[in-house]
Homo-oligomer: 287 residues x 4
């Protein structure tokens, strides 16, 4: 499956979706987007509509955030994935995003699944908080049944009795799903761990287990994030992680996405050969 | 809190909501409704829109089922509670029902919670499959924040490692919530157990623990039910359960609803439901 | 099954085992024993060998505590149940106790199970922290296979994802086990809840569900207990609980044990425990 | 930490413990031992005393199995790890084994922990079925407190709500424990998965996450194993796994143990195990 922006899921190139938990401002998002693109991510993640346990927590910037995501995604040659919670928002979100995320709390929100199943845009289906593998696949079936076969599964940890990490990453699903379904599987170590310094080794392990991609929370200033700061990498840590992933990708016979772009010049000029290629190979796939 | 139909939640009279998992036909529903009313239930439950793990399972009869629920509820002086899954359906369901059920899979469906929070109709908020008590109360907060303070909490068992019962009933929440919130708490032993013969003792225990009501699945022919047959009581078993509950209610200082109707005459009144029932003692509480 | 001291498990009379988590001193234990006997308990519980998560926590007084348990049990006509953790201690503990408790951490300590299976003293087998019902029954089978068929099962809550209570009481096992085994089932609401004020309503619910008995932590001074103070009832609260249980017992067709002593005279008999008590109605049932 | 046989835990060389779940016969064990040594394992695992959920399942060959383990271990230059369940068996098992395994059901068997804590032989402490990381470390503390600081932690999966795999491997503990304790951590993918074909990718992921070693079930004929056949690799699959692990070990900056023997000559030495092997490069490290 290939997104606008060029990212593929399920092929030889690993998909790396990175960005802030929530879109907080144009500057925050753009800084993160530039950094993750430069480090080699090929998809920008960021929440516009935030499902929050408490109604008193930051709820997201809504459509404004969608616009920012689109702009930053285009600017840095990144596909855009963002969560949609409400079936009434699906069309609007799809205007801006390249991939619709169904969050863990909505894995069995069947009207929402049917709605994204009626679209032809890729769907990232996160595993429910305590969903069995069987239930997860049947949730995917709601989307597939609508005719939308661009579903990517995302393991993000399940609820457990221990509070040592935020959730309990079920890494076994990576090889298990490989023999149960044709759908690509990626891993979100950020939500699984809830602790930034555990994200890199678990990201490494996930790729080693065969995951087709990663979803990583990156924030320019985690200490001041409006949500999920404790589990967000800062831009430098993400850059280090990407370097650390290179030999793992090689070991699994896959490759990481190319970095965007090699030189800062290319922001301004499409004449640069490097960016020209980018704008053909990855850029033209946008919009 | 008082429903149309006269049922109250949180007071001296226990609320007994009973009926089939899914509305399958007018006859099935009406038979169940008549039986549960005669046995002393004061709310009719039944699913019109069914959240099913598999898209290939029976999905409910939709608005047709809503009409049947309203008719049978009116005929037997029962309030009507039914699940709404889609924020776009809230107004329609509220036209027919006296209480909107938010199912376990939607406990953190925040757009849906906001939508029912904007209504002024009672809401039955089931606990999420693996929701903490804290998360459950914060989900209720989404409804309350919208100005709808008619929220009833329903414990229905949580997910566990054992498969001996369908879910693991957390009976401790009954006394625990009593000191954490003003909201009434009822128990659904049917979904908790998943096994019909365990429903009566657990219903007894739930009232003994202080629950304000029960939600019980009753089907005229459980063996041929389209959903949840294994956990549904037949009409006779429900009648026996209601008798068994009487001393328990007395012990807790509460009382069960009166049976409908007081005199056997009114069985005939089913022929002209709109007039007869409305003038009954309980019917007059209907809108 | 009948203990020395006269308590029965599985019959018309409910077994009420009460006492401190750990035996801390002769005075603490005797005060508790006198109070629980006066309130109607018929078994004294108390830990001599304490299984503690940390090696730095209070580990119990060992054989000294066993002697105190025997003395206080005899003095107030109570059977004695206490935990044994080490197969090498089984004979010694059996010299003092009337019932051997296998704790939750040792439910699958097979050498220990075989050792108590070789004895002819009743065994109280607590459910493991996350044991399935199947595993629990198979653990009992280790004891039964040794020829000791005096096994009582004790539900004490299982581990869950929520921390609102210490464990998650699985009340469904009470009716479930009734159809799976001939073994009596009692409930320990103290360890299940971990919060003293939740113990009474859950004790009530447990009897209402059909439990053959209760295991309740009672401490003369919970605030200064060396272990489990937060979940221990003080003597007055236990007395209130016993009164509250009377109508529940009646409702289930069972009865509570008689209070000790039958006549107020016997309060004085505490002065000469060794003689007076043995001649009491219940004392004569001791070996 | 270095075992007799030369295996180290916690250093640059990864420890690979492999062998059958239970020792079933001299031939079965020796075939497995030769194969795993040839493939590069440096520790032989095998159960002599088997903790089985049912008393009617194969319980192990006891001391006979211990002798076989010692012989096969010596023959192929392998250290020997085997489980001890009973504090009364600790000395006997220690006569034969190089490392004592405390199984998952005994993680909080405190008398047993104290007993192995009084020894000076390495201990492999498996995580309890639903033990928190905190409880696991405190169980280790029981051993350390006795003066035995040769403790290795083994993650083997925890109990979960899903039955898709036998347990839920908590890979996060590998990096998490690295910052909480100095104790080495190894992973048992066999018990975690319960499905042989999932063992290799999870073994890979575990090393990639930083595990200091692996514990792998290998049986010459899994289809006819008396226990755990479904999760056991056959000898050829184990050989393939070891090759697959090489680049992962390299990637983490560690190395796998050398294969036994270095030269094909020693294949013949199997005929005279007691003399020849001891003089081999690895044999000399034996006591």
């Amino acid at each position: 499956m290939r997104l606008r922006g060029g990212a593929t899921f399920g092929g030889d190139e690993i998909a790396i979706a990175a960005g802030p938990c929530g879109v907080e401002s144009r500057e925050q998002l753009d800084t993160a987007a530039r950094a993750v693109a430069a480090a080699g991510a090929n998809v920008l993640r960021g929440g516009a509509y935030k499902p929050r346990t408490s109604p008193y927590s930051f709820q997201g910037l809504g459509e404004d955030a969608l616009k920012m995501l689109r702009e930053s995604g285009d600017r840095y040659g990144l596909g855009v994935v963002t969560e949609v919670m409400d079936p009434r928002d699906v069309e609007r979100v799809a205007q801006y995003a390249d991939m619709l995320q169904i969050g863990t709390r909505n894995m069995q929100n069947f009207p929402l699944l049917r709605e994204v199943g009626a679209m032809r845009i890729p769907v990232l289906l996160k595993r429910g908080l305590s969903a069995t593998v069987q239930e997860w696949l049947l949730a995917a079936e709601y989307v597939l049944l609508g005719g939308n076969d661009n579903v990517v599964l995302c393991e993000r940890g399940v609820r457990s009795f221990d509070q040592a990490t935020r959730n309990l990453l079920d890494i076994s699903v990576v090889p298990l799903l490989e023999e149960m379904t044709h759908l690509p599987v990626i891993v979100d170590p950020s939500h699984a761990m809830g602790i930034a310094r555990l994200v890199p080794p678990i990201a490494v392990a996930s790729l080693a287990a065969g995951a087709h991609g990663l979803l990583i929370e990156v924030h320019p200033d985690p200490a001041n994030a409006l949500s999920d700061g404790a589990q967000s990498l800062d831009c430098a840590a993400f850059e280090r992680l990407m370097r650390r992933l290179e030999p793992v990708a090689a070991f699994t016979g896959r490759r990481l996405p190319k970095r965007y772009p090699a030189s800062p010049v290319s922001d301004d000029s499409a004449a640069s050969p490097d960016s020209a290629v980018r704008s053909s190979k990855r850029g033209v796939k946008l919009a």
